[in-house]
């Protein structure tokens, strides 16, 4: 840790690495990059609670660890509760004078499964109780760590091992659960979506989420070459396409006010995003049109929310 920075235009990015090299994420993993950038944004004064999943498994093989910040993993579905205990514990120890007063960010890290499925209850509880913490959901749109099983965040039409495409099925037959909106519904001060193809935007949002008093949620799109079946060098393109097609819009909701961070006058056709990925390869034109229609609708809804606060 030497505290140096590299300059990219007006953006400074620290050379400190909080997740050490030598981790075992797959070749070209977008989640690994997203994590690396998020941790740069957080700095060293954090405590991270990590749900079971790719991030946990790829960074903590006993007897060693990739982590250079205090880190804890206990279970798959309890991260919201665990970070509540960490936050409450630090606060009361400082209040009782058993620990010097200082700013330590409490950060929960989980996959889409650990967030929008099995961990939803614990997270909802932590939001509702208004603990001061930041929750980062790394969304690779399936249970990757256990072998690409579908989650409620898997998009319509994607083939996974438990919702495979077959003669009678297109794979996932439901639309992706909108976790960011569920976070917004808890009336928390900060919610944002991010993608590692937009590193400075991601870093800013994670920083903001860490600084906000009260619960904050950042939903991070995390391209997965293994589960999505695209070539290992394409993570950045795939992320950009997700944003530019409107499939994964980048926005923030601060105290209930919506703001689009990247708004293209004209969205690119979803086909450009779907094509390079093996998980969508079986989709016929009719299904692609259906996805296009859905994206148009959802994007319009989002723009309407943004418009409410534009004036």
């Amino acid at each position: 840790m030497d505290g140096k920075f590299i300059k990219f235009g007006k953006n400074l990015v620290t050379t400190d690495e909080f997740v050490a090299e030598g981790h075992s994420f797959c070749v070209g993993c977008g989640e690994a990059l997203a994590l690396r950038l998020a941790c740069k944004a957080l700095g060293k004064d954090v405590i991270i609670a990590n749900a079971t999943g790719c991030i946990e498994i790829c960074t903590s093989p006993l007897p060693v660890t990739s982590w250079r910040v205090p880190w804890i993993h206990t279970l798959f579905e309890n991260t919201g509760a665990e970070i509540s205990g960490i936050e409450a514990g630090l606060k009361i120890l400082m209040k009782k004078g058993k620990m010097p007063e200082r700013d330590i960010k409490c950060v929960a890290v989980a996959g889409d499964g650990g967030t929008s499925d099995i961990g939803m209850q614990a997270l909802s509880g932590a939001f509702e109780r208004k603990h001061d913490f930041l929750y980062l959901c790394f969304d690779n749109e399936a249970y990757m760590n256990t072998g690409i099983q579908r989650s409620s965040a898997t998009p319509y039409g994607a083939s996974t091992t438990t919702a495979p495409a077959g003669k009678l099925s297109i794979g996932q037959t439901t639309w992706k659960k909108n976790m960011a909106e569920i976070a917004v519904a808890h009336d928390i001060p900060y919610v944002a979506t991010a993608c590692p193809s937009y590193p400075f935007d991601l870093i800013n949002k994670v920083k903001k989420g860490g600084e906000v008093k009260g619960p904050a949620y950042v939903h991070i799109f995390s391209p997965c070459p293994t589960g999505w079946r695209y070539p290992t060098d394409l993570a950045i393109e795939i992320g950009r396409l997700a944003v530019e097609t409107g499939i994964f819009p980048l926005y923030e909701v601060e105290n209930g006010r919506y703001k689009l961070n990247i708004d293209r006058p004209k969205l690119r056709p979803v086909e450009e995003y779907l094509k390079p990925q093996g998980r969508f390869r079986h989709l016929l034109d009719g299904e692609i049109a259906k996805i296009q229609e859905h994206v148009n609708e959802e994007y319009a809804k989002l723009k309407a929310k943004v418009a409410c606060f534009a004036a």
């Binding site: 498994i57 205090p70 993993h73 206990t74 509760a81 960490i86």
Partner: protein, 398 residues
């Protein structure tokens, strides 16, 4: 000056947590545990206790929040019962394996179905292999004393294991008895401040809960097991220190009027109090009987148990839990295997009763002793006997 007050066991446990100056409480209400979190929440609201009370949304989250709080070095307390402990099950193993000295009161409750809010020991037995220190209370004074003692022992740097303090739902949790409360300065003398050596802090980043590939998992588990068994020395030392300060001495295995007794009855929890009366009555009639109260359930006190029963001819073990399809109640099967290699050992007769809050009166314990004696003489077709069940129970065999 210590003072004598009327308290139900739930309030006694809450009072002990207050005097221990706990930092974090995370709990979810379930009958018959409700009075504990209610009382603690009230203490926090009134400023009698400087603690964070986290009103979590489930028991799974209650114990998970305790993990987080303990990991940063907070003294941490929770309480539950029956279904709540079942819902926690996954987290129960994590707490002991990661060596967080959380103290948890269990107001023992039967398990569904059918739904029952009343007491038995099924909940405690379902977590017996989870690596927590487990003690059972006979009365409300025990409930106070064991809670205080649990912090002292669990947090000892030679131990660092979580502790479950069990007392029977309703039979103790909701019954008021006189309890002697010590002075704060005595408590402070007994219970040093919690100094967790591995607290998560940015000053010395550590990794808690890394995963165990096959080439290391077994070593991790053996290290845990050896440390857990070793904790018995500190458990006993803790009982001794407690006695030296507060005047009440406890033991892993507590014999009552057993000198020269041919027949021994073994019970746990509040049953021991009633069973003592049955023993007194029988002794008065000249019968050669005595009682063993098993206080420490985990780590199991093999040595002490064998020593306490070696001169008896018959040992009747009374379980408040069924181990479906097993050799008898969990306590009796444990005791049979504890005694198996002993040269001098009594015959063990297994009884099951008092399930789901069914009262066991003095006469029931007398019946158990008489029946037990008869079975030793005449033999029995069944693997275990029952008490208080309407209708003849047969067909309990392998």
């Amino acid at each position: 000056m210590s003072k004598r007050v009327g308290l139900e066991a739930s309030f006694a446990a809450a009072e002990a947590a207050r005097m221990a100056d706990v930092d974090v409480i995370a709990a979810y209400p379930i009958t018959p545990q409700t009075h504990i979190p209610e009382r603690l929440a009230e203490m926090v609201a009134d400023g009698e206790l400087n603690a964070a009370y986290i009103p979590v949304e489930s028991e799974h989250s209650a114990l998970s929040a305790c993990l987080g709080a303990a990991a940063v070095g907070a003294r941490t307390f929770t309480a539950t019962a029956g279904q709540g402990l079942e819902l926690m099950h996954e987290v129960v193993y994590v707490a002991s394996s990661m060596r967080y000295p959380i103290v948890m009161t269990i107001c023992n409750r039967a398990l569904s179905a059918p739904l029952s809010v009343w007491g038995d020991h099924s909940d405690a037995m379902a977590v017996r292999d989870a690596g927590w220190i487990q003690v059972f209370c006979q009365n409300n004074q025990d409930a106070f004393d064991m809670t205080l003692w649990a912090f002292r022992v669990g947090e000892d740097p030679r131990v660092l294991f979580p502790v479950m303090v069990h007392f029977d739902g309703f039979h103790l949790s909701h019954v008021t008895e006189p309890v002697i409360l010590p002075e704060q300065k005595e408590v402070d003398r007994f219970l040093p401040r919690f100094q967790y050596p591995f607290a998560l802090t940015p000053d010395k980043p550590m990794t808690h809960g890394a995963f165990g590939p096959p080439d290391i998992y077994s070593e991790a588990k053996i290290a845990q097991e050896v440390a857990f068994r070793k904790s018995k020395d500190v458990i006993i030392q803790g009982f001794k220190e407690f006695g030296d300060i507060f005047g009440r001495y406890y033991h892993p295995v507590e014999p009552y009027r057993t000198e020269g007794a041919k027949v021994l009855l073994l019970t746990m929890g509040s049953f021991s109090e009633t069973a003592k009366i049955a023993i007194d009555t029988k002794k008065n009639k000249g019968e050669s009987v005595g009682l063993i109260n098993l206080r420490l359930w985990r780590p199991f006190p093999f040595e002490e148990l064998c020593q306490a029963v070696k001169d008896a001819e018959t040992l009747i073990v009374f379980d408040r839990c069924i181990s479906f399809g097993g050799p008898g109640g969990p306590v009796s099967s444990e005791i049979r295997s504890a005694l198996y290699n002993e040269k001098e050992r009594p015959r063990v007769v297994s009884f099951i009763g008092g399930l789901g809050g069914r009262d066991m009166a003095v006469k029931d314990f007398e019946y158990v002793i008489d029946q037990g004696r008869e079975i030793v003489e005449k033999g029995s077709e069944e693997l275990f006997e029952t008490v208080g069940i309407r209708g003849e129970v047969t067909g309990i065999r392998g």
